[in-house]
Amino acid sequence: MANIAEARIRREFKEVVKSEEVAKCHIKVELVNDNYTELRGEIIGPPDTAYDGGKFILEIKIPDTYPFNPPKVKFATKIWHPNISSVTGAICLDILKDQWAAAMTLRTVLLSLQALLATAEPNDPQDAVVAKQYKENQAIFLQTARHWTNVYAGGPHREQVLEQKVEQVKNMGFEEHRARVALSSANWDPERATESLLNS
């Protein structure tokens, strides 16, 4: 079966490389090893979203049974999104699970992920903390997602108030990323954030 997977990825590769989206620098795929089992994807955060301008790296693993089973995809870039784990980067997306069809390609996967960044599905969450914030406090969610995009994906929009709060907690002796996670999860309430850091 593995030879079908490899032959197929080879052909797909050409397809993605030639595609219009690549030409416009919206998506990209690169090989990680020689036998086409691991790939590195890249999507640009869609405009008019909190992820605008960010460059998100994806880890793609091709199973032996590809394309009859979906590729295993997760975010290598840290991201604040209801359907993506802020800890592991695992993605909750139907086409990567039971809605996968053999006729889908890496291109469809990357475009679907880009679409997922534009329209979250908070009712089918991967990260419960993020999903709760998304539903209950949309404004804070957008700020947080923008801040993460800026810090981890090189997005252009800075959130200075949030940066200061991270700095503040960091100065108390906590590691920067942990401080950011704690603040993000506590709706940027420094007191609650430090409390959770101290209790963990």
Binding site: A7, E15, F68, A102, A103
Partner: protein
């Protein structure tokens, strides 16, 4: 009952398995035949017995024949292929009449609803002698492109590999078209025409058979370990089935152990809860308690809850450690949980404690009956050796002593029902009906304990008394089931 302090009188070999099922083999219809003649007047008719259920135990071949007959009926009535008939029946849980009716009225709607054909057929334009297969992305001759009813063309090799992967992953009846957003299902004849590996063809036919049985409401696999039996019943109800091959007793509807009067959803909830809370409840599993009067350590090695301390001869209840005199049938209180009436005004912690207390109350009783049931098997053994002894000493004949075995079997049956009344009561809302339920439960508890006590001590002279007690206990059991078992 049994009372024993510290001594290890429980070294019985537990080869009671066969004997313990003796009663159950002929349980659902033949149980009452075990009763002695003077009870015959009260022998319930089939329709009176709330547990009565008609079922057949079938072998694999019988079921294959039965399913084929169902398919055949649909094929001949609607003039369709067997593979299509199977898909339609599977998609509609084998409601043959429904499928026939829909197919006669509006066949295309039925086919779309059953995912046999698409809402709109894909119009793929194939101009040249070859085309690109959407899965392997290579140029393929037109003659090697195949589609399901939806018109999505893919090459034979891809279809073959696709089917292989699906079957190896255990999917058989749910294999859909390979195109994006197309949920048209693959018929069996298409699969057989495309699949190249003979061993996978066999695997497909085995797995799909399992799926057919699972989707058929009148069929259920016996849940006994490695048991090949399939049970067939007219309708899918939460009734008792006893497999004659592996002696597993289970509920036809959910396949879990038989659980009347509790229903399928509640027992599932209860068993999950017990599994989750097992750590908290673990302390209960201690098998010993101290005599409330002389404080000697007592090990429970019989089923009866009416304990008598072998040292000080004090009669007490194993569940509440109270005086047994307060446990007569009129005021048996031990099965009833007394809720704190003021709980709504208490703190969250107090409420949590109360919730745990309530659960533990029911769990303890549930667990205690389960244990007693196991101990009843030892009792049965003891009875057998006692009978042997009596007969050897010419105190009555073997036949004279049969009533004692009948009583022990009935005791097990009553205890079993009693065990399953506790999850029911736990999830019951506080209301008049619960009061009635708990009243009847208490009555049954009291009579079962009386029976248990008498069985463990019966001599030939007690026969009339014991038979009377059997009759009372079974009547209590049936009354409770009749009132609370949803039929």
């Amino acid at each position: 009952m049994s009372d024993d302090m510290n001594s290890g009188e429980s070294d019985h070999d537990s080869d009671t398995d066969l004997s313990d099922h003796m009663d159950e083999d002929d349980d659902y219809c033949g149980y009452y035949d075990n009763d002695t003649n003077d009870l015959d007047i009260d022998k319930p008719k089939k329709t009176d017995d709330p547990e009565y259920f008609e079922f057949e135990l079938l072998q694999l071949e019988d079921v294959e024949r039965f399913l084929n007959e169902e398919v055949e009926v649909l094929c001949s009535s609607q003039k369709i292929k067997p593979s299509l008939a199977k898909m339609l029946l599977h998609a509609h849980n084998w409601k043959k009449e429904f499928v026939i009716e829909c197919h006669s009225k509006n066949p295309s709607k039925l086919l779309v609803d059953s995912k046999v054909i698409p809402k709109t057929k894909n119009q793929q334009l194939l101009a040249g002698p070859s085309a690109v297969c959407g899965v392997c992305l290579s140029q393929v001759a037109r003659t090697d492109l195949y589609d399901l009813s939806c018109g999505h063309m893919f090459c034979g090799e891809c279809w073959d590999s696709y089917c292989q992967v699906q079957i190896q992953q255990g999917t058989t009846l749910g294999i859909a078209c390979m195109a994006n957003d197309c949920d048209v299902m693959m018929p069996e004849d298409f699969l057989y025409s495309i699949l190249s590996k003979p061993d996978l063809r066999n695997r497909y036919s085995q797995l799909s058979f399992l799926e057919y049985v699972k989707s058929h409401p009148a069929l259920r696999f016996c849940p006994g370990p490695n048991c090949p039996i399939i049970v067939k019943a007219k309708d899918c109800r939460a009734k008792k089935v006893l497999c004659s091959t592996c002696h597993t007793m289970f509920c036809f509807k959910c396949g879990l152990e038989y659980h009347a009067p509790t229903d399928c959803d509640v027992i599932k909830k209860w068993l999950t809860k017990c599994a989750d809370d097992s750590e908290t409840a673990n302390y209960i599993s201690a098998n010993t308690k101290d005599c409330p009067k002389c404080h000697v350590c007592i090990e429970k090695n019989g089923g009866c809850n009416h304990m008598q301390c072998s040292k000080c001869k004090y009669d007490f209840c194993w569940m509440c450690l109270g005086d047994w005199k307060a446990h007569g049938s009129e005021y048996y209180e031990c099965s009833r949980y007394k809720e704190n009436p003021n709980i709504a005004n208490e703190s969250v912690h107090a409420q949590a404690r109360e919730a745990l207390k309530k659960y533990l109350f029911y769990f303890e009783r549930w667990e205690n009956h389960a244990k007693s049931l196991k101990l009843e098997e030892q009792t049965l053994d003891k009875i057998k050796s006692r009978i042997q002894e009596k007969v050897m000493n010419s105190t009555g004949t073997w036949i004279d002593w049969q009533y004692l075995l009948d009583a022990a079997h009935l005791l097990k049956k009553c205890r079993y029902t009693l065990q399953y009344t506790y999850p029911y009561a736990y999830y019951m809302e506080k209301c008049a009906r619960k009061q009635l339920f708990e009243y009847q439960q208490a009555q049954l508890e009291a009579e079962v304990e009386n029976l248990s006590w008498k069985v463990e001590r019966a001599e030939i002279t007690h026969r009339g008394d014991l038979e009377n007690q059997m009759d009372i206990a079974e009547k209590r059991r049936l009354t409770l089931l009749k009132d609370f078992l949803d039929i």
